[in-house]
């Protein structure tokens, strides 16, 4: 569970610029900031109107940035995390050698 922030277009942010509202959600557990900020989250009971006039009722979660790029960013984050974890573990092991 983490706090994200929604702007007036329901786009997700990881920090508040002072105009956003906070939402507690577990939808982004394990996701990096770049991934989160490429998504739109429409809460239950609310509606979002796309530029072409189509109305979407919440609760809806969908990417507003190209998902292929978001998935690549998330994969890179996970690789970085794995390398850090491995480096940390190597340090721990060497301390006991």
């Amino acid at each position: 569970m983490r706090t994200i922030y929604l702007d007036s277009d329901f786009k997700c942010h990881v920090s508040d610029d002072g105009t956003m509202r906070a939402v507690e959600t577990d939808l982004f557990d394990g996701k990096c900031d770049t991934f989160i900020e490429g998504y739109r989250f429409v809460p239950e009971g609310e509606n979002w109107t796309r530029d072409d006039g189509t109305v979407f009722a919440g609760e809806m979660l969908s990417p507003w940035k190209n998902y292929t790029e978001l998935a690549a960013a998330q994969a890179q984050c996970e690789r970085d995390h794995a390398e850090l974890e491995a480096a940390y573990q190597e340090g721990v092991n060497s301390a006991y050698d």
């Binding site: 072409d52 979407f56 609760e59 809806m60 998902y67």
Partner: protein, 365 residues
Amino acid sequence: MIFNLSGGGNPLNFKVVGGTSAPATPAENTIWVNTDTAITGWYFDAEEPNVYNIPTNSSIDWHSMRSPHKLSEGDILNFKIPVSIDFSLEALAIIDVSTGQYYFLRHVDGTKLNAWPEGTKIGLRISKDMYPIVDHNGIGTAYVMAWDSYYHDEGTVWIQTGDASQVEFNALNKNGIQVYPIGAKQYVGGSWVDKTAQIYQNGAWNELVSGYLIKDGEDVTSLTGGWQHATMGMQSNAFVHPDITYNNGAMSVMQTTGTAAAFCITTVNAIDLTDVKTIEATCDAYAQGNSYQGSENWIDLSVATAPNTATTATVNLAKQGAKSGTFALDVSSITGSYYIGFRGMCWVTGGLKLGVNVYNLELKR
């Protein structure tokens, strides 16, 4: 399928017109493309028409170039010479790279064609299945025309076709070629641009929209490949696999026994969502019981990159209860192929009803 017919006697049972307002007195099967760019021609095809540009001659080894497309007998290979080419000795040829066989382009009197002025447009009707590239007969020099880019006339309209459409029609006055239009693009400024288009049928304008995955409760198996049980990344020790049935105008999957259940069904085929903006489901959704144990009582419409991976986009259909209606999921920023599914879980004290009756499931472009 690709066709682009014209000629006397008008064998066609439709016409394609452009403009920023609909024609006032349209004939049946008039396709109106909403555009301010004049329409210079049209194609009907499921995939981008095979029209190739040769931007320059080069000395690239054709073995290093990407594999050409297979063309079948009757297909037309069109290309344009954008710069003046004068091969003093050799003629232009197409090569079937699967056999290495050269086919020289000649005048009807049999002489070889040597000079190709800038802008020359060439259309070749392929008379046998082959994988052609365009070359000039410089054996030992191996000049090969670049293959990778596309050329279309400005204003050309591409009516996209599929296996199913709300507005299918017979393209010919005699005989029958059933066409399933699902969208329109126009070649403007060097690229295909999405255009809204409508067809006049039965006294009304109807939008060219993409095919249904489920239409009036019938699975469009040619698109979905059927439905399968999966997980879409859900973790539960209460997974159930209720039967998928088709009756009363709906595709139904429903679990009504037990007190805890999780289920997920997805299309067997991955569905290309590249040009799809919205997935729309008309359904009755249930995630209900007499009373609830915990908050995880819901049913969603979702898409995922694989049947058992976490969802990429999702919209809730019902939560701790039942709901009927038309539900829309925005997929306008998703490209590529995805599995579309319904998934849910419910933990109740009794009276479990977890599932969905799907009347229509539509991809809207």
